[in-house]
């Protein structure tokens, strides 16, 4: 049963990820991405990371995708329709890169020996444990990330507001 669920949703995830790239309209790509995120959430859930699955749905499929769709609407998707022959050009650059990536992955994964703390992801107990990690061990990165986002917002203000004469 678990295996069947895994393969079904893995297939959905891969298929919808492909659709993200292959669609001609940006809006369709965005919707495919939502499907992909949803399928990934199921996989996370299967791995025992219920919180990550929930966050995936709320943050990615929810908030971030809304943002994506807003931007697509603002940018007038009709004007940016890709022609059917665009893959001919990109394949020229893409195929060697894909081959290289495949080579790298094949080189890396046989040598893979997971070390880490030895705790499987399944032992993550949920929000309490996450909160402990986030606000103790990773308190500083957590706070510093807010500075990073603040800088990005400030940068956006500089670049967009106050048009030069």
């Amino acid at each position: 049963m678990e295996q069947i669920v895994f393969y079904v949703f893995a297939a959905v995830a891969v298929g919808s990820a492909l659709l993200v790239v292959l669609q001609q309209r940006a809006v369709y790509s965005a919707f495919s991405l939502i499907v992909c995120f949803g399928a990934l959430a199921v996989l996370y859930f299967q791995l025992g990371a219920a919180l990550v699955a929930a966050l995936q749905v709320i943050v990615y499929a929810g908030a971030i995708m809304v943002l994506f769709l807003f931007v697509i609407m603002l940018l007038d998707p009709q004007a940016e329709r890709f022609g059917p022959d665009r893959f001919k050009k990109t394949a020229l650059a893409g195929l060697p890169m894909a081959a290289f990536l495949a080579f790298v992955l094949l080189r890396v994964f046989p040598a893979w020996s997971p070390r880490g703390s030895g705790e499987p992801i399944g032992s993550v107990e949920g929000p309490k444990r996450i909160a402990h990690i986030l606000f103790q061990d990773y308190l500083l990165p957590f706070e510093v990330t807010s500075i990073l986002i603040l800088v990005a917002i400030l940068g956006a203000v500089v670049l967009v507001k106050h048009r030069p004469d």
Partner: protein, 476 residues
Amino acid sequence: MDLNYAALLPEILLAVAGILLMLAIPVLPSRQQVRLGYAASLALAAALVTALLQWGDHGPAFFGMVSMDALGGAARILFLVSSAAVALISVSYLKRERLRHGEYFPLLLMATVGMSLMAVSADLIMTFLGLEILSISSYVLAGYRRGDPRSNESALKYFLLGAFSTAFMLYGIALLYGAAGSTKYAGIAEAATQGQAETATFLLGLGLLLVGFGFKAALAPLHVWTPDVYQGAPVPITAHLAVGSKAAVLITLLRLLHQVFPASADQWQTLLWIASAATMIIGNVAALTQTDVKRLLAYSSIAHAGYILLGVIANSPRGAQGVLFYLAAYSLMTLGAFAVVQVFARREERFTKLEDFRGIGYRHPLLSVSLTIFLLSLIGIPPTAGFYGKLFLFSAAVEADLVALVILAVLASAVGLYYYLQLIVLMFMKEAASPPEPVPVPLAARIVILLMAAGTLYLGVYPAQVLSIAGEAAGL
């Protein structure tokens, strides 16, 4: 392991000051926005005092995310001095170019926070966050002259290539985490000694990390963005990129390679040997044909990063000491040179061609004499800081059996002689082509130029004190 807030007091101070300045933007009437620059300089000075008082404090803080040691302490003092100088020459620059003061200084302060965090970080996640804060504020600052297409080009090029290199670095960090099971410096170093250093995952991670750092430090062959970005950015920001930003990346690289990856020394030494040789040759040779002083200094800064790599490759405390001393000397002379260029460029940066410096020697003695001191120091002629900088670096490299690379470095410096001297000759031995135009030298810029010139000479006459501080930071 506990919180130990106080360890990061200078950084917290700067971040709070940055946020307060941001809040002050809408409140202050536009005429008084100039004060934001002085407020930022004050905040940097306060952080500098705090950092100096904390000199000698050691130990981890924030649950091992950062670790205070002499290297981090010395590095953040260097960054704070550099940023303070940049802030001081920015005030008159922004006024002259009629740019908004408001967002500029918070961005500069945050960039300093990023540099500082990189230097004291003990975890790759913190290093990455520090670098990103530094990079994102630098992208925006490079494009701060919104009305100037060159500045737009500068920001866009820097952003696109920078984002690309960030992806490389992040991938490298992910692979290292996969191999070592930790992002902590200590954890990675421990995993490396237990045989992980030989695995493909680990080496690939290290390689990608080096690509990311190589880009940010403008090491050949990842330097191609540098001239355009440096030329298009506002002059004070060019100084910030060439000094603070570059020093932060090089010091972090030094710490990582010497403290975390000594087990892979054979591999990274080979890579950096090639990068160092290429950087010195390309930087110096390409500088020969430049006609714009900002581009010339950009190539010169590339070349100097090549020399600094010698000390990193040496993989010894003496090498690290050489790197730190050189960075101190390089910061003083480069900041000084850019301060002179900033003043001399005048409104809209019209006078940055080498030809514009023709015959200014006796007309603007303050500018030309101090620029001469900085250029002589960049060449490495005694009694200036650059001479001892090169001496310590090269001798550390010779001790580490890098004789061939040192010979190359000396030859490359000899090439550098030509383009630096060319500018000095233009200033003092040629007649001016056109009638002179007044060059107003604002007080803050004058102070920066004089201080940097004094510092350059001080290090050239009496290097012992700074050298011993560098030695302490290098763990000698």
